[in-house]
């Protein structure tokens, strides 16, 4: 079979068109990828900036709270609002150095008085005889 003289040119044209399409696609893909990289980078940066912004706001609020809780400020509020709060200066635990039971009985105001100072009563044991 005789080969057509235009076959070479057809093939070449086809190859060129294919190369053109492939190159174009790759180019478009590269551009799209780069765009996505840019979008992602910007979005990451915006997110980081937002996180930093929120952290700064939280920090500001925290500082404000702590400033408002300063002892001198609280004392000032206590006075201006007439709250009458007093610092804890009373001992929460009373150190009892006297006889504890006697004290408890006395405070209860009833019951028999314990005579701990009296000598113990004699106890008689009946011994079995073998």
């Amino acid at each position: 079979m005789k080969k057509s003289p235009s076959a070479f040119a057809n093939q070449l044209l086809l190859c060129v068109l294919l190369a053109f399409c492939t190159g174009g696609s790759i180019g478009l893909a590269a551009v799209w990828l780069r765009h996505q990289v840019s979008v992602t980078a910007r979005s990451n940066r915006d997110l980081a900036a937002e996180v930093a912004r929120l952290e700064r706001l939280i920090d500001e609020r925290k500082t404000l709270l702590e400033t408002e809780q300063a002892p001198d400020k609280l004392r000032g509020l206590n006075a201006s609002l007439r709250l009458g709060l007093v610092p804890m200066s009373e001992l929460p635990v009373l150190q009892v150095t006297e006889n504890v039971l006697e004290r408890m009985v006395r405070r209860a105001g009833s019951g028999p008085r314990l005579e701990t100072a009296l000598p113990p009563a004699p106890v008689t044991f009946r011994l079995a005889r073998n």
Partner: protein
């Protein structure tokens, strides 16, 4: 159409396409290889951008985690008058109201102006080109071009006006930055941003804030407006606190916005570590309230109070007069001494509190026991062949045991204990108790005075045991008493508990640090027992006693040297002690300088001006620190007797 013609057309088309591709290829090679440098040069010069990231200075926390010093981000708000647009004009009054500036002043600042050419008049500073909205919040960090005219940003926020760096210095230069306000809080800046006025932008800076105002101010110190740690722990722990600035190198677009996808190098910022102190804000507040009460009652020249545990960690340290580190710049020049931590920077003669040294030394050396009786009625004694005059007493003492010498605070008894010891041993024990040396406190400590014993005058052996001719800081005297409270060991006074990262991880933890052993535990316990006598009936400071607790302590009153002489009208009164005596939990020192004018009887004796404060502080610490009476408890003993009685 012939077949040959068609094939020729295809061939021509193919060749044309080839030629186009070849042309494109050649052009690409030309642009990317041959002409690359000349094309890139202006781009390289214009697009790179260095964005610094300011590290946040770490916090200073108290023992319970409350922030004593912190950093707050603020905005230095400014305007580029040349960037303003007419459509924003209607928003100016609102902006003026938000920043609290008269509208006329705002309009004046918004008027475009030019700086005179260099050499004619002092020109405003050259501006850094700001990166527009680098993090999307309208407060750009400074961005720099790499031109040699760019100046460093160290104090960029401190200037009122700045000019365009690219302008010819021989011509009038446009002023591109006029400061509007330098302490705009983040929340207010958010509101200003929403106004969206073109040309108004801010620069973010961190400012140091002390939420508790003067609480612990002498310890914490302050950071000045140039962000330099000036005094106190701010300065001592600056290495940990300051962190490390970060930066990123990238490119910007034509509107001066960062192009994050072209970031080529990034060094992340490293926020400073937090420093956690042993200071307890509650205890510190109690101490400062007591100092304020002392100041109101006695109007002393100065006063100091220290509270520590028995491991050497300071729970509170305060001085009068004091200052507010938020307003350090409002302290008058002639009153700057009030910013000193006088508990460690100033020395005084400790007076009778020092008697614990000869007493402990004589006991340790087995020269005496607590029951050994010494004649304190004699006014002269022979020492090394010399007859020495013994110091005077407040009242006749007679024969006293060593325990009574302490509880009655006999000067002559202490002098004779010193003579029993001799110069060398007395000096050795005084050094072992921490006198004459720095104890390693972080900030500003001085060593005090304890001369080498070979340089002592003969009379010194009778005066040093009663706390004269020797000088110490309040902290040194406090640590000397801590030797007795901690079983005979001299401890390093410490104030930092931990260094933690911003995420809370412990980077370094400080532990009890012993400098050395001064006396044996038995001797320390014996001296503690003797010191209980001071606060009991017959002692010199019964008003320091706390009901239900054994309080060990010692009063001290030393005459001040006025015009080169010991004055009878100016005293330093002190009380240093600890409780519970058998199992100490806290050591408290109260030192009041020159309270004579208003003290009862006209003399600022330790028992009058300092001992009551010790008692009040101690009583308030009991519930806060959960202190229980130490040693043998009365309650279990009684319970045991009752149980026995029932059998």
């Amino acid at each position: 159409m012939s077949r040959g013609f068609a094939s020729n057309r295809i061939a021509v088309l193919g060749v044309t396409l080839f030629a186009c591709f070849a042309g494109l290829g050649v052009r690409l090679v030309w642009l990317h290889v041959v002409d690359r440098d000349s094309i890139l040069r202006p781009v390289v010069r214009a697009r790179p951008m260095l964005i610094p990231e300011t590290a946040r200075r770490g916090d200073i926390l108290d023992a319970r985690g409350a922030r004593l010093a912190t950093s707050r981000s603020e905005i230095v708000l400014g305007v580029d008058p040349h960037s303003l647009v007419p459509k924003d004009r209607r928003k100016w009054p609102e902006l003026a109201a938000l920043i609290g500036m008269p509208e006329d002043e705002l309009r004046e600042k918004f008027t475009p102006r030019y700086a005179p050419p260099a050499g004619e008049a002092p020109a405003p500073r050259t501006v850094m080109k700001p990166a527009a909205d680098d993090d999307g919040d309208g407060a750009p960090a400074l961005a720099f071009d790499f031109s040699p005219r760019a100046t460093p940003p160290a104090d960029a926020v401190g200037h009122e006006e700045e000019t365009d760096p690219s302008a010819d210095p021989r011509e009038p230069r446009p002023i591109l930055w006029v400061k509007l306000r330098d302490d705009v809080p983040e929340s207010l800046h958010e509101t200003i941003r929403r106004l969206n006025i073109q040309g108004v932008y801010g620069r973010r800076v961190y400012r140091r804030v002390y939420p508790s105002n003067q609480l612990g101010s002498h310890l914490i110190g302050f950071v000045n407006r140039e962000q330099q740690a000036a005094t106190g722990l701010e300065s001592y722990a600056d290495f940990y606190l300051r962190g490390q600035q970060g930066w990123r190198l990238g490119e910007r677009d034509g509107r001066n916005r960062e192009l994050p996808q072209f970031a080529v190098r990034e060094v992340p910022r490293f926020d400073g570590y937090n420093v956690r102190l042993s200071i307890d804000s509650t205890v510190q507040d109690i101490v400062e309230q007591e100092l304020a009460a002392l100041a109101a009652k006695f109007r002393p020249a100065k006063a100091s109070i220290i509270v520590s545990d028995t491991d050497g960690f300071i729970l509170a340290m305060a001085n009068y007069p004091t200052f507010n580190p938020n307003e350090y710049n409002k302290v008058p020049k002639d009153e700057e001494a009030r910013m000193k931590n006088i508990a460690v920077t100033d020395v005084y003669e400790p007076g009778s509190v020092f008697k614990i040294v000869p007493a402990a030394a004589a006991l340790e050396e087995r020269l005496v026991s607590a029951r050994t009786v010494i004649d304190c009625g004699v006014d002269r004694a022979t020492y090394n062949g010399r007859v020495l005059k013994l110091p005077a007493e407040d009242h006749a003492m007679g024969r006293l045991s060593v325990a009574e010498i302490i509880s009655h605070s006999s000067n002559r008894g202490a002098a004779q204990l010193g003579m029993l010891l001799g110069e060398e041993r007395l000096h050795r024990y005084a050094s072992a108790f921490g006198f004459g040396t720095r104890l390693g406190f972080p900030t500003g400590e001085v060593r005090g005075t304890l001369h080498p014993y070979k340089k002592w005058y003969p009379i010194d052996i009778t005066r040093i045991p009663m706390g004269h001719t020797v000088s110490s800081t309040v902290l040194q005297m406090h640590q000397a008493m801590s030797v007795i409270a901690s079983g005979g060991v001299l401890l390093r006074p410490q104030i930092i508990r931990q260094i933690t990262s911003s995420t809370g991880d412990v980077v370094y933890a400080y532990d009890r640090a012993e400098i050395g052993r001064a006396v044996s535990p038995e001797t320390a316990a014996e001296v503690a027992r003797m010191l209980i006598g001071v606060t009991r009936q017959g002692g010199t400071a019964t008003n320091a006693a706390i009901e239900g607790f054994d309080v060990a302590g010692k009063t001290g009153t030393s005459q001040k040297i006025i015009d080169g002489r010991y004055s009878n009208r100016h005293h330093v009164g002190s009380f240093v002690g600890f409780f519970p005596a058998q199992r100490p939990r806290v050591v408290i020192s109260v030192v009041v300088d020159d309270a004579d004018r208003t003290a009862a009887g006209g003399n600022g004796y330790g028992r009058v001006v300092a001992a009551p404060s010790f008692k009040r502080i101690g009583e308030r610490l009991i519930p806060i620190l959960g202190i229980r009476p130490g040693g043998e408890s009365a309650v279990p003993r009684l319970l045991a007797r009752n149980e026995g009685g029932r059998r």
